[in-house]
């Protein structure tokens, strides 16, 4: 799905995922000033949403101290020095000033669900409740023409200021008719282009919106693609994973609130603060990997002793995400911690290339020659057999020919 132009741009744009966390006093003083000014500016603008973080925290039985603990963690996550903590807290309080239009395309709404349905929401999740959601198809009560009018109004009022958050892939096959929305039967593609056009930046949330995800899995009947394949000439931030971690969504929006800019991105447009880590290098089972101690079967002695899940198909060695560090559900656990290998959910084409329950070498892929799907080793052994037969025939023929020559 990658276009040639992008492929070329990508080719030599290697930046690594290193973030310089020590840019000197002058840089940070400057940054602090910019952020303070921006927050003052925001504070003057009317709260777009009536929900304040204080009120939400109180109903959840959390106090200011919990909130400040969260702020210092968020500060570290964004790789800022600790004296930025009060600014982070302030920014979180002002989250309700940043207008957000959240659109829902071809997906399972799992990212919204992950944020909304947790029974002990983290502060990250609570903050997402306070953001000024001007429009959200999944949550709002309005429907049909009323919803349409509401969207128009929000886009008009906050022109050039709102963040366009996208969840779900865009089906392009059959002129996009696999997904239409609203009273006018707009296709998802038209809908996305219309909303993205006047936004300050586009945030693609979840793997469907970033890389096409599950809907784009082979044979991709709906021609599903990610936002970056449709929207051009806009700042796009990709927050993949299935579901995207609320901590990363909040972190990105916080960064936007604080600076008005998008955070540093990697070559797949993922924020480096979140996707600059390889699962395999921050995995608690890594010692077992190096030792060659693997779970061989679900529930075996290895599984009971937390051995490495590589042979059960863990794709941690090829996957970049921070879930091994921030985890999910209030930091309770994460997939590998719970005993299942990583399925590479934050990588492009994850469903076809990563999400199998066996190591890469044992997985059936389309062979380079086409035809039936085979494992690399099956294909390789086929190749070796063919070569062996060829050599055998040539050797036998040579011997017979040689004998005849001798007879003459």
């Amino acid at each position: 799905m990658m276009e040639k132009r992008e492929a070329l741009a990508q080719m030599f744009s290697a930046k690594g995922s290193r973030i310089n966390t020590n840019r000197g006093e002058a840089y940070y003083n400057n940054l602090m000033q910019t952020m303070t000014l921006r927050l003052q500016e925001l504070e003057k603008s009317p709260a777009a949403s009536k929900v304040s973080i204080e009120a939400v925290l109180e109903t959840e039985g959390l106090n200011r101290r919990d909130f400040m603990k969260w702020a210092s963690a968020a500060c570290a996550a964004l790789m800022l020095p600790s004296n930025f903590t009060p600014l982070i807290a302030k920014a979180a309080e002002l989250m309700n000033r940043v207008p957000i239009i959240w659109i829902e395309l071809q997906d399972c709404a799992g990212n919204s669900e992950a944020i909304l349905r947790s029974d002990s929401p983290t502060i990250d999740e609570l903050i997402l409740e306070t953001i000024s959601l001007e429009f959200n198809e999944t949550l709002m009560a309005a429907a049909g023409h009323a919803a349409e009018a509401h969207l128009e109004e929000a886009m008009h009022t906050f022109k050039g200021k709102y963040l366009c958050v996208v969840e779900g892939s865009i089906p392009l096959a059959m002129n996009g008719l696999y997904g239409t929305i609203g009273a006018k039967g707009e296709t998802f593609e038209e809908h996305l282009l219309r909303v993205a056009k006047d936004s300050a930046a586009v945030v693609a949330v979840g793997t469907c919106a970033t890389f096409g995800g599950v809907p784009a899995a082979s044979p991709n009947p709906t021609g599903a693609v990610g936002v970056q394949d449709v929207v051009k000439g806009k700042a796009i931030i990709n927050i993949p994973a299935c579901p995207a971690n609320p901590a990363n969504i909040t972190g990105t929006i916080l960064h936007f609130v604080l600076t008005g800019q998008v955070p540093e991105l990697d070559h797949l447009n993922r924020p480096k603060f979140a996707f600059g880590y390889r699962i395999h290098d921050n995995c608690e089972r890594r010692a077992h990997f190096d030792a060659g101690e693997f779970v061989e079967e679900w529930g075996d002695a290895g599984a009971q002793n937390n051995f490495c899940l590589y042979k059960m198909g863990c794709k941690g060695p090829m996957t970049f995400n921070n879930c091994s560090i921030v985890r999910y559900n209030s930091g309770t656990n994460w997939p590998i911690g719970a005993g299942h290998g990583c399925i590479g959910c934050s990588e492009p084409q994850f469903w076809d290339k990563y999400a199998q329950e066996r190591p890469m070498a044992d997985t059936h892929f389309k062979a380079p020659t086409g035809g039936v799907e085979k494992t690399v080793d099956e294909f390789g052994l086929g190749l070796l057999t063919a070569a062996g037969i060829g050599i055998g025939i040539h050797a036998a023929a040579s011997l017979i020919a040689g004998k005849k020559e001798g007879d003459e």
Partner: protein, 230 residues
């Protein structure tokens, strides 16, 4: 009938050949383990002091480095060899193209037709070796791309230039193989089989030449010379 001795490989070149051959075996054995750990570590020690996978990976990288060095040596020999310089045999001149097909015809007619001077390196074998060196370079580039995944921090004990240069030199393999980390890994694994096929044919062909040409070709890589009828 007497035989003339023709020097073909210096001691150093022969050493290089066997180092590459042994490295290849080690790379295959360890590479397959990395892809699918095919034996259990029956070592009673706790995980902290047995490094079965880590040793395999280490061995894999060490032979990879030996490959690097030997490839640089071979690249140098392409231009500055004391013997027939291989690059001269790779150029698509009429003479080389003719020689290439003459050697191929010799192979396909089971040595019935032989219309070229077999005492020196021929165009067919030069191109055949060139293919091998290209595959080795491909293994190197895809291997280093897999390797740099482990340097996500962008820093290394020898400095930030190392991961940087690896990214600059090998990130294009991501695009070339299909866009994902997995594609690079698959390509690394597939190419291994292509290399094994190459080795099979190489060994067969050298033995075949020795038997049918009766010029002792196999001893080039042992004693350094072959023997041609005068």
């Amino acid at each position: 009938m007497s035989y003339k001795k023709i020097e073909r490989m210096t001691g150093f070149m022969r050493l290089n050949h066997w180092v590459v051959a042994i490295s290849m075996v080690v790379a295959i054995v360890t590479g397959l383990y990395i892809g699918h750990p095919y034996y259990q570590s029956f070592i009673a020690d706790p995980a902290v002091d047995k490094y079965v996978m880590a040793w395999n990976r280490l061995a894999h990288f060490i032979v990879a480095i030996i490959f690097d060095v030997s490839s640089i040596v071979v690249a140098y020999l392409y231009f500055f060899s004391r013997f027939e310089k291989p690059y001269k045999k790779l150029l698509p001149t009429l003479k080389n193209i003719k020689e290439f097909f003459d050697v191929l015809i010799n192979l396909l007619t089971l040595n019935r037709v032989k219309k070229f001077d077999s005492s020196h390196t021929d165009s067919f074998n030069s191109i055949f070796f060139f293919v091998f060196h290209m595959m080795l370079i491909w293994m190197l580039l895809t291997g280093l791309q897999l390797y740099v995944h482990g340097l996500a921090s962008g820093i290394s004990s020898i400095g930030a230039w190392w991961p940087w240069i690896l990214h600059v030199a090998t990130d294009w393999t991501l695009v070339a193989t299909g866009g994902t980390n997995m594609d690079v890994r698959l390509s690394h694994h597939y190419t291994m089989y292509a290399i094994i096929v190459w080795v099979m044919f190489h060994v067969y062909y050298q033995v075949w030449r020795t038997i049918f040409w009766k010029e002792g070709d196999i001893s080039i890589v042992v004693g350094g010379a072959k023997y041609v009828k005068e």
